[in-house]
């Protein structure tokens, strides 16, 4: 199975979401009962930013090194993007409603749990959106 440069760049995004979940989510899971203040989370936020910059620098450099050609963004790409982003948008809306309902019906006072829930939702939606985008690129 040969993959195009665009397809590999989508796989890089999916891999980032999975790595993020494996590396940083346990921290937020353990600290669900915590009431975070900005000065306490600055360390983890800095680590996330550094990880993101290093990860994308390395992966995209390797991609550029192996695939010299530039990605041609044409009308088919636009159509695939609009379909996958539409799905992502609908999932965001749906999950936001569920999230608000959960907040109203429960007594979550720790912002640690809220941050954890938001991160889980964002990661799940991001992985679904990118997987659908990848699927469309392969089949459409």
């Amino acid at each position: 199975m040969t993959l195009s440069k665009k397809e590999i760049s989508i796989l890089i995004e999916i891999a980032f979401s999975i790595l993020f979940a494996l590396i940083f989510l346990p921290y937020f899971y353990r600290n669900q009962e915590t009431v975070f203040v900005f000065s306490e989370v600055i360390g983890i936020v800095t680590r996330i930013i550094i990880f993101s910059v290093v990860y994308f620098s390395i992966t995209y450099s390797l991609l550029e090194f192996n695939y010299k050609r530039t990605i041609t963004e044409d009308e088919r790409c636009d159509m695939i993007n609009s379909k996958s982003y539409k799905l992502g948008y609908l999932l965001y809306e749906f999950s936001l409603l569920i999230f608000i309902g959960t907040l109203i019906n429960s007594s979550i006072h720790q912002n640690g749990r809220i941050i954890f829930l938001i991160l889980v939702l964002l990661l799940i939606i991001s992985i679904i959106k990118s997987s659908y985008q990848f699927y469309l690129h392969r089949t459409f």
Partner: protein, 65 residues
């Protein structure tokens, strides 16, 4: 009715690869592959660009079957 095309036939007659034709009409090779396999229906603009590039009438290139 399904929109079909004779793109592969006319492209090969002209001696273009999928990549070459894609570059000439500013789309990716994957888009040309998708059109040839009837998976993707191009916009009128792209269909006319392709027809123009291959020197063939658009109704000969795309047809309903």
């Amino acid at each position: 009715m399904v929109l079909k095309n004779t793109l592969k036939e006319f492209r090969q007659k002209k001696g273009y690869t999928q990549d070459e034709l894609g570059k000439r009409v500013s789309v990716s090779r994957q888009t040309i592959i998708s059109i040839e396999r009837y998976r993707y229906k191009p916009s009128l603009e792209l269909a006319m660009k392709i027809a123009n590039e291959l020197n063939v009438k658009i109704e000969k290139l795309f047809y309903f079957a």
